[in-house]
C-alpha cells in the first residue's frame, strides 16, 4: 500500500485523485493543514474515494470538504446539524465510509445536541472537529471551546469556561476519541489513519485492533513533541497552546483513565493530544437496528413493496 515509484497507491490512484477544488480559506489556516492530512491519509491507506461520503455543517471548517476527496460525494448541510444528515445517509447506504468535518461553533454550540446523540448511537462516522476556539466564518466571536480569559480582537475577554469536546464525547460513550494539533503533521496523520482503519474495522469485524500494524499508535509521533512532554505552540493570533502528548504507556482502552488524564491536563492548563480512547466492543447503530447488509438505497422493488397477499391479509384483519 505504500506509494511505489509510479506514485500511486494500492488502488493505482495518485495523490491528485484525493484532492478537491482549490481552498478558499485563509492562507495559513489550520483547517487547510487538516485537509492536507486527510488527503495524505486516504491516499496512503488506499481508501476508495468513491466509497466515501463527506459531510459538514456550516463554518470555514465546514467548507473544507470541498477541498479534499473530490471523487467523493459531499454534503455541506446546515449549521450544527451535520450529524443528522450523515446518520440518514449512512442508514441509506451502510457500505459508505462517512467522513464528517465540523467546527467548534458548529459542534459545541448549535450542534452540541446532535453531536451528543450521534455519539450515543455510535454511528460509524469519522467526526473531525476543527477547533479554533472561535467562529471563524462570522469573524471571530468566541465559541464554547474558547479558553476562559482569552481575548477578542476588540479586547473583550471570554468569561465562560470551555467545553472539552473530547471529554464530553468520552462521557457520552464515544468508541474512538483522539485529539491532535493541526500543525503536528505526524501525529495528526497517525490519528486520522487510525480513525480510518477503525472505520474499516467496524465494518469488517475482522482484525482486532492490535493488528492494525500500518497505523503505529505512538511510535512515529515523536518528532515535534516527544511523548509525554509539554510544548508550547504559538498560534497565528499570538495566543499560546500548551500541548502534552500521551506517552506510550498510556492505556487507551480504559475510559476512566482517559477521563482522569483529561481532567489532570485541564488542571495544568494543558491540552492532551493522542489517541485517548478506543472501544471496539460496542455495537454500532447499524448493528443495533439489525439492518440488511445491502444498502437500503438500492434494494430492489421486490424487497421494498410487500406482496398483494400481504395487503389482503392486512385488509382482512381490518374488516
Amino acid at each position: 500500500m505504500t506509494p511505489q515509484a509510479k506514485k500511486v497507491n494500492r488502488l493505482g490512484l495518485e495523490v491528485l485523485n484525493y484532492r478537491g477544488s482549490k481552498t478558499t480559506l485563509c492562507a495559513g489556516c489550520g483547517h487547510n493543514a487538516i485537509s492536507e492530512r486527510i488527503v495524505e491519509c486516504f491516499y496512503e491507506l488506499g481508501v476508495d474515494p468513491m466509497g466515501v461520503a463527506k459531510f459538514s455543517g456550516i463554518g470555514c471548517s465546514s467548507k473544507s470538504p470541498a477541498y479534499f476527496l473530490g471523487l467523493s460525494h459531499g454534503f455541506n448541510g446546515v449549521h450544527g446539524r451535520m450529524p443528522a444528515i450523515a446518520t440518514g445517509a449512512l442508514l441509506a447506504n451502510r457500505t459508505l465510509m462517512g467522513l464528517g468535518v465540523t467546527g467548534d461553533g458548529d459542534t459545541a454550540s448549535i450542534g452540541i445536541g446532535q453531536f451528543m446523540h450521534l455519539v450515543r448511537r455510535n454511528m460509524p462516522l469519522i467526526y473531525i472537529i476543527e477547533d479554533n476556539g472561535v467562529y471563524g466564518l462570522t469573524k471571530g466571536q468566541f465559541s464554547a471551546t474558547a479558553d476562559v480569559g482569552s481575548k477578542l480582537k476588540t479586547g473583550a475577554p471570554n468569561d465562560l469556561p470551555p467545553f472539552d469536546c473530547c471529554a464530553l464525547a468520552l462521557k457520552w460513550g464515544a468508541t474512538f476519541v483522539a485529539r491532535s494539533f493541526s500543525g503536528d503533521k505526524k501525529q495528526l496523520q497517525a490519528i486520522i489513519k487510525t480513525a480510518i482503519a477503525r472505520g474499516a474495522y467496524m465494518k469488517e469485524h475482522e482484525e482486532p485492533l492490535q493488528e492494525l500494524d500500518f497505523v503505529p499508535f505512538f511510535e512515529d509521533i515523536s518528532v515535534e513533541i516527544p511523548e509525554g512532554e509539554v510544548r508550547e505552540i504559538e498560534m497565528h493570533d499570538g495566543s499560546r497552546l500548551r500541548l502534552r502528548k500521551l506517552d506510550r504507556y498510556y492505556d487507551p482502552t480504559d475510559r476512566l483513565s482517559a477521563l482522569s488524564a483529561l481532567e489532570e491536563a485541564e488542571k495544568n492548563h494543558e491540552v492532551l493530544t493522542g489517541v485517548l480512547y478506543v472501544n471496539t466492543a460496542k455495537p454500532t447503530f447499524l448493528e443495533v437496528l439489525n439492518m440488511a447488509e445491502e444498502p437500503l438505497a438500492t434494494l430492489p422493488e421486490s424487497k421494498l413493496r410487500p406482496s398483494p397477499a400481504a395487503l389482503n391479509e392486512i385488509m382482512e384483519e381490518l374488516r
Binding site: P65, A84, G88
Partner: protein, 614 residues
C-alpha cells in the same frame, strides 16, 4: 327503581321531527384514562357490522388521565360520516361534565346516565335512562381492580337494548377487539355488556325514537384510522428510512408503521430489516436524517405535526434548494404554538407551502380518507423522487386519529418510480454529468448516489449558492438560473400532481372548494343547500398543491366560490390569492371554522347561506 323517567307523549309534543332510524348521533362522555375506548370502538364496530354507515370521533384532552373525553358516533343511512353537531343520544358517565352535557342537548334527546348523578331533575324534555353502573359491575367482575376497565362495557349492553343493536354483533366486535390471545378479557367485557343489556331489558320501556336497523351498506369495508392508512401507504411505497420524534397527533402513524414493517419488511431468509426506523432526538434531527437518507438514495420520510414542522423549516428549505427528496407527513393539530394538541385543524397549509426563508415552494398532498392516505402516500414517495424535492402529505387529527370506515385499499398498479438516478454505467456512457442542469426541460436534473463507483459520479451538495455543476458560486446569473429552474420545476409539478375531484352542477352559480377532511362536511352541505334552500352548488375537492388549471376553470365557471378552511385566516384561500389574478380572486369567498372540532356540515351551510343572503 323507576321504569320510566319521562312521559314522552305529553312532554315532547310539538318538537321538530328528529332523525330516528339509522340517522342519529350518540355521544359518550367519560373521563380520560377510564378505559372507555374499548367500549366505544366495540359500539361503533357493532353498528358497522350491521351494515350501517357509521363514523366515530374521539374528542380527548391533552393529558393521560382525569380530564373529560367525548366520543361521538354518528350513524347515517344516507352515508354522511362527517361530524354532526347535534347529539341525539347521550351516555353521561362523567360527573364533571354531565350537567353541561345534558343542558346542551336538544329537546327530545335521550340520556343514559350513571344513576347517582340524578340528571333527570335537570330537564323535562328528554328521555332519561338511569343505570346503576357500580351495582351492575360488581357481580360480573369479582376482581375490584378490573372493575373500572369493564364498567364502561355495561353501557354498550344498555345501548344495544335501547337502540336495537344486535348483541351478536357486539360479541363479534369484542372478539375482534381482543383477538384470540385475550379471550379472558373479552369474556369479562362480554359479561358486562350482557349485564347492561339484561338490566335495560328488565327495567326500561323505550320512550325515545332512536334505533338502528340492519342495512347492507358496509359490506366488504374496513375500519381504520388515517395514521395507520398512511403507514400502510408508506410501507407499500417502499419507504426505507423513517425518522421521527413523537408528537400528537402523528405518533400513531409511525407506531403502526413499526408494527407493519416488523411483520412485512424483514428479509424472510436473513431476518434482517430492509428498513431503518429511528426515533431522533428532535425534529431538527429527524428531518435532517430524512434529508440525508433521501440524498443517499433511500425512500425517506418523517411524520410530525405543527410544532415539529416549525423546527424543520431550515432543513426543508435546504431540501428544496439542493433538490433532495423526502416525504413529510404533517398530521395537523390546532396551533399556533402548542395550541390545542388534541384538537384538529388545517392550520399549516399556508406556512408549509412556503416553508423556510427565501423563495421556496413545496408540493402538498391532501388525502381526505384512509383510502387516499394509502394511495396518495404511494404517489408522494414517487413524486418526491421524481421531482427531487420534499413533499408534504397533509392530514389532520380528525383523519389521522379517528377510526373511519373505508373501502379496502387497492394494491398499487404502477411499479415504484425512483426518478432520475444515474448509475456508474450511465456515467460511463455519458462521460460525465452536471447535477443541476435541466437536460430534459422539466427543471429536474440527474443525480448520482454516493457510493457510485465512477470517477465522474461525485458532486458536492450544498445549501449555499451553486451552479448547474453543483459548484459553489455567488454569481448573479448562476443564482438566478438556479432559482428560475426551481420555479420552472414547480410549474411542471402542476401537470403531475393528483387531480381534484369535481362535482359540477350545471345549474350552479356558486361553488365550494375544500381539502382533506372538510370533504365530509362540504358534501353534506351541498345536499343541505339543495334540499333545504333549493340552491345548487358545485364542489371541487383539491388533492394537491400546486393548484392545477382545473381550479381556475372551476372558479371561472361560477359566480362565487366558497373556499372552506379549517383555520382562522383562510389559509387555503390565501394560497389562491398568492397565485391568481384579480378577476379570479374577486370571486372567492371564505368559509372558516377553527374551533378545533371536526368540521360539520351545518357550520358550512349556515355560513354560505348567510353570505349568499338566502
Amino acid at each position: 327503581m323507576s321504569t320510566l323517567e319521562v312521559s314522552p307523549a305529553e312532554r315532547l309534543s310539538g318538537q321538530p321531527e328528529r332523525p330516528a332510524i339509522n340517522e342519529f348521533s350518540i355521544q359518550v362522555a367519560t373521563v380520560n384514562g377510564s378505559g372507555s375506548q374499548t367500549a366505544n370502538s366495540v359500539l361503533m364496530r357493532a353498528i358497522f357490522q350491521m351494515g350501517i354507515p357509521v363514523s366515530g370521533k374521539n374528542m380527548f384532552p391533552s393529558n393521560i388521565a382525569g380530564l373529560p373525553t367525548w366520543f361521538t358516533i354518528r350513524t347515517s343511512a344516507r352515508g354522511y360520516i362527517g361530524r354532526r353537531k347535534e347529539v341525539d343520544f347521550l351516555v353521561a358517565m362523567n360527573p364533571e361534565t354531565a350537567r353541561e352535557d345534558v343542558m346542551q342537548l336538544g329537546a327530545g334527546a335521550a340520556v343514559v346516565y350513571d344513576e347517582p348523578l340524578k340528571l333527570d331533575a335537570l330537564r323535562s324534555d328528554l328521555h332519561f335512562y338511569p343505570v346503576p353502573f357500580d351495582k351492575l359491575v360488581a357481580p360480573v367482575c369479582p376482581e375490584p381492580r378490573l372493575r373500572k376497565l369493564v364498567r364502561n362495557m355495561i353501557y354498550d349492553g344498555v345501548l344495544a337494548r335501547i337502540l336495537s343493536i344486535e348483541m351478536d354483533e357486539v360479541h363479534k366486535a369484542l372478539e375482534k377487539q381482543f383477538g384470540k390471545k385475550k379471550a379472558k378479557a373479552a369474556e369479562l367485557n362480554w359479561n358486562a355488556a350482557r349485564a347492561g343489556y339484561d338490566f335495560a331489558a328488565a327495567t326500561f320501556t323505550k320512550t325515545d325514537p332512536f334505533r338502528v336497523e340492519r342495512m347492507n351498506a358496509t359490506a366488504g369495508k374496513i375500519i381504520i384510522d388515517g395514521n395507520a392508512a398512511c403507514a400502510l401507504g408508506a410501507m407499500f411505497a417502499g419507504v426505507t428510512v423513517v425518522t421521527w420524534y413523537p408528537i400528537t397527533p402523528s405518533t400513531s402513524l409511525v407506531e403502526s408503521l413499526m408494527g407493519y414493517m416488523r411483520r412485512f419488511r424483514h428479509d424472510p431468509e436473513s431476518g434482517k430489516a430492509n428498513y431503518a426506523i429511528v426515533q431522533a432526538e428532535d425534529e431538527l434531527a429527524s428531518i435532517g436524517m430524512a434529508i440525508g437518507a433521501g440524498w443517499a438514495g433511500a425512500r425517506s420520510m418523517t411524520a410530525t405535526a405543527g410544532p415539529g414542522v416549525s423546527l424543520m423549516s431550515e432543513f426543508i428549505g435546504l431540501g428544496y434548494y439542493a433538490d433532495i427528496p423526502a416525504v413529510i407527513y404533517d398530521v395537523e393539530r390546532v396551533g399556533p404554538s402548542t395550541g390545542l394538541p388534541t384538537r384538529t385543524q388545517q392550520g399549516d397549509i399556508l406556512s408549509n407551502a412556503i416553508l423556510s426563508h427565501g423563495d421556496t415552494r413545496h408540493p402538498m398532498f391532501f388525502p381526505s380518507s384512509p383510502e387516499e392516505c394509502f394511495s396518495l402516500s404511494i404517489e408522494a414517495f414517487d413524486f418526491a423522487e421524481k421531482f427531487q424535492t420534499p413533499v408534504f402529505v397533509m392530514t389532520d387529527l380528525d383523519l389521522g386519529m379517528n377510526n373511519w370506515m373505508s373501502d379496502p385499499f387497492a394494491y398499487p398498479e404502477k411499479p415504484i418510480a425512483r426518478g432520475k438516478v444515474l448509475t456508474a454505467e450511465d456515467i460511463g456512457k455519458l462521460g460525465g454529468f452536471a447535477r443541476y442542469r435541466d437536460v430534459d426541460g422539466d427543471g429536474v436534473g440527474y443525480r448520482t448516489l454516493p457510493g457510485t463507483r465512477h470517477p465522474a459520479a461525485a458532486y458536492f451538495t450544498r445549501g449555499s449558492g451553486h451552479n448547474d455543476k453543483a459548484q459553489y458560486t455567488e454569481r448573479e446569473d448562476d443564482y438566478i438560473n438556479n432559482m428560475d429552474r426551481l420555479a420552472h420545476k414547480f410549474e411542471v409539478m402542476r401537470q403531475h400532481v393528483p387531480e381534484p375531484v369535481t362535482a359540477i352542477r350545471e345549474d350552479a352559480r356558486i361553488g365550494l372548494v375544500a381539502v382533506g377532511t372538510s370533504d365530509y362536511a362540504v358534501r353534506e352541505c351541498c345536499d343541505q343547500l339543495r334540499d333545504e334552500y333549493g340552491v345548487a352548488a358545485s364542489y371541487m375537492r383539491l388533492k394537491a398543491y400546486p393548484f392545477t388549471e382545473h381550479l381556475k376553470d372551476f372558479i371561472r365557471r361560477h359566480e362565487r366560490v366558497y373556499v372552506v378552511d379549517q383555520n382562522r385566516d383562510g389559509q387555503l384561500l390565501g394560497l389562491m390569492r398568492l397565485e391568481f389574478d384579480a378577476e379570479l380572486i374577486a370571486k372567492l369567498r371564505s368559509v372558516r371554522y377553527y374551533g378545533g372540532l371536526p368540521l360539520d356540515a351545518r357550520t358550512v351551510t349556515d355560513e354560505v347561506v348567510g353570505q349568499e343572503g338566502l
